[in-house]
Symmetry: C2
Subunit: 121 residues, 2 copies
């Protein structure tokens, strides 16, 4: 159940990233979410996370994202996902590893903590 | 309660890192833990995580670690920590951001998911 619901939000995330819809992307996070991109400070809350994604998308020329869940553990209204994201960039393809802590708020799963790093040097 | 217990394990982590005690360090993780170091694949389980820390410690000349908790949310037998680690290296100092998902196993808090990345470019 939760597994399917979280997968559905990941598909929404991919679609928003592909379309460059930063408002939609930010809305998939909790209002008090924290995102931790490499080489940058922590982004807190939807406005900050929206700015972060705008900046990242522009910087790397983000065209497409595919999210693959490697592991998902649920505990009540929270869940912890470990996965890989394959990014299509203007310069080619990059793969990053991530941990997302999900939180169910008002019946909807949202990204609550989001951190990633590069897979290979 | 949990907050203090987790802080105590962080102090044990710092001590093990300072002493280069890889067995102790690995024992602070759950048996099915996953660690996601930058520029490398996922390490799974204590043996793999022990190897990972041995490799990292040697590579960067790790002398000391200080862990600072920025945020800690608890949910039953799991907890999610966002923090910063200040590393003393042979070449100077580095600061990384991290997310640790903690799990209470047999009455003891252990690192269950551990991922970090650099703070500034």
């Amino acid at each position: 159940m939760s597994r399917n619901e979280i997968a559905a939000v990941n598909r929404q995330f991919e679609e928003a990233a592909r379309k460059g819809d930063l408002d939609r992307l930010a809305s998939l996070y909790t209002v008090d979410a924290m995102a931790l991109p490499p080489d940058a400070p922590v982004a807190r809350g939807r406005e900050d996370i929206k700015r972060m994604w705008g900046s990242i998308a522009q910087q790397i020329g983000l065209k497409d994202v595919r999210l693959d869940t490697l592991d998902l553990e649920e505990a009540g209204d929270t869940a912890c996902e470990v996965g890989e994201a394959t990014l299509t960039l203007s310069s080619g393809t990059a793969v990053v590893k991530f941990v997302v802590v999900w939180k169910k708020v008002d019946g909807q799963w949202r990204l609550h903590r989001d951190i990633w790093n590069t897979k290979a040097a």
